[in-house]
Amino acid sequence: MPNAILDPTGRAGVQAAAPPGLELAPRRPGLAGQRVGLMNNTKHNAELLLAEIGKLLVAEHRDASVTIAQTKPNFAAPAPADLVERYQRECDVVITGVGDCGSCSASAVADGIGFERAGLPAAVICSDAFAVTAGAMAAMQGAPDYQYLITPHPVAVLTPEQVRERAKQLLPKVVAMLTERADQ
């Protein structure tokens, strides 16, 4: 009997312990009166894009307000638990991104899934060039069908005016993602 060929991944038999599937946080009836959280991941133009979307949301929805806008400490890793807890306390919905690099796209999706598990409806924005890596992370997090918002690549080189245009284009999709109108 020859020797067995060893598995170099350490994952043989790990499937049984895969993370549970994802149940999305309850969507909001609408965004009127909602506290909106923004979390930018340090990527160029992410802060401006999120701020613009926040501004448009507040203008279009009565009594909505942006109550927390933070920068992730490490773009490559999911937001730490204490930061997620702050969003839980200080807002009702979260918008985050922009997934615009190898590791940050994957971790943006992990953030969205983390916010959903914490009970916060989340809209994650990724550049379309990173859909595969974002999807790979979603599968790794036990949520292969996780939906996030796609915006055309590139984002980093856009002028402020072009970023504002992107925000307008994304706005209806963000609203749909966070409210009961969403096609899940």
């Binding site: 020859p2 020797n3 067995a4 060929i5 060893l6 598995d7 170099p8 991944t9 350490g10 994952r11 160029h44 490490n74 773009f75 490559a76 890793a77 999911p78 690099c101 190898g102 590791s103 940050c104 796209s105 994957a106 971790s107 992990a110 990173f130 595969v132 890596t133 790979a136 992370m137 790794m140």
Partner: protein
């Protein structure tokens, strides 16, 4: 004594099996078996369950055992395994390897530099063709690192690995320092380890680019040629950019003969590597938003901007490798900050 029967058909079937599992970096793998892994573990004398790497965002953990399986597959011999572990440890000291470095669009390559007696004991090449190929330890030690990243971290190209173009030499840049023909102390000694200790230094690179200067006997003219390559704008993203130079013996000896030690080379280059604001403006990189470069606001173009942050040893890695047959050296571009440390190679004394 009976000779072992070599069965090429069985070997081919086993190699194909490894491809089918998705374990390969594209080249054939040596199938790992328990007896082979046991020999590797014995050479290192480390607990197989010892955790030597973790990537929390992917929930993956590297143990000595998994590293050994991948080192077998890379084609290492058991006695190389302590060098693989030292190289891995040196890479784990890099900030980027615990963050998004392995997933980056830059597709960075480890640079592994080996010092000390282990070079000759294991047959590492320090002379001609230092950047490879042709020598088993130089080729298989970095390949083992790549297989650990692929298989244990699960970072596969086109999926969690998002390299835009990657770079030639990823998972194959491991050079031994040519201590015998270097005018300076070994790199590991410069970084604080006792002379004569076998050690590994490592960081991540974005590329290597040659400087061919067989034109001058002036150390300053020669260093000026390096300064031009180190200062180019294309490699410059943030306020500063880090680099290194792997000098060939001829260049190192010429510079040392003019009175320069490593620190003085760094000092000379730190002052002179860079571009004028006007040069950077032509590439849209003359201004700063925090630490990131962007088109500036038209400040006077004559100001000289330095690419290296300072003359600290961490800001410019200097090693010596290659043959003594031409003035051809390599500038290396660092992906992120470098720990500026060397890791001793820990062999299992009992197994030797």
């Amino acid at each position: 004594m009976t000779e072992a029967v070599l069965d090429p058909d069985a070997a081919q079937a086993a190699i194909e099996h490894c491809y089918e599992q998705g374990w390969s970096d594209g080249l054939p793998l040596v199938p790992a078996t328990q007896p082979a892994v046991d020999r590797f573990l014995a050479a290192a004398g480390r607990s197989p369950d010892e955790v030597i790497g973790r990537l929390p965002q992917l929930d993956r953990t590297v143990t000595v055992r998994l590293a050994a399986i991948n080192a077998v597959m890379a084609g290492c011999r058991p006695e190389y395994f302590p060098v693989v572990l030292a190289a891995w440890e040196a890479l784990m000291r890099e900030r980027a390897t615990g963050g998004g470095g392995w997933q980056s669009t830059s597709g960075p390559a480890p640079l592994i530099v080996v010092n000390g007696p282990v070079r000759a004991e294991l047959g590492f090449n320090a002379a001609g063709g230092a950047f490879g190929p042709g020598f088993r330890p130089n080729a298989t030690v970095p390949r083992a690192i790549g297989l650990i990243v692929r298989n244990v971290y699960g970072i596969h190209p086109h999926e969690l690995e998002q390299a835009t173009q990657g770079l030639p030499g990823r998972w194959s840049i491991c050079l031994a320092e040519n201590e015998e023909e270097s005018p300076w102390p070994p790199l590991a000694a410069e970084l604080g380890l006792p002379a004569g200790v076998s050690a590994v230094t490592a960081t991540l690179l974005r590329t290597c680019e040659f400087v061919d200067n067989r034109h001058t006997s002036s150390a300053e003219q020669l260093l000026g040629d390096f300064a031009d390559t180190i200062g180019r704008s294309g490699a410059w993203i943030f306020e500063h950019a880090l680099a290194g130079v792997v000098f060939c013996p001829e260049h190192a000896q010429l510079i040392a003969a003019a009175g320069y030690d490593r620190a003085q080379v760094r000092g000379w280059l730190a002052e002179r590597c860079g571009r004028s604001t006007a040069d950077l403006a032509r590439a849209g990189k003359d201004g700063l938003d925090g630490r990131v470069r962007l088109p500036g606001d038209g400040e006077p173009g004559s100001r000289f901007q330095r690419v290296l942050p300072d003359a600290d040893s961490k800001s410019l890695l200097i090693a010596v490798a290659g043959a003594r047959n031409a003035g051809i050296s390599m500038v290396v571009r660092l992906f992120a900050d470098w720990s500026g440390t060397a890791v001793p190679v820990r062999e299992n004394e009992e197994s030797r």
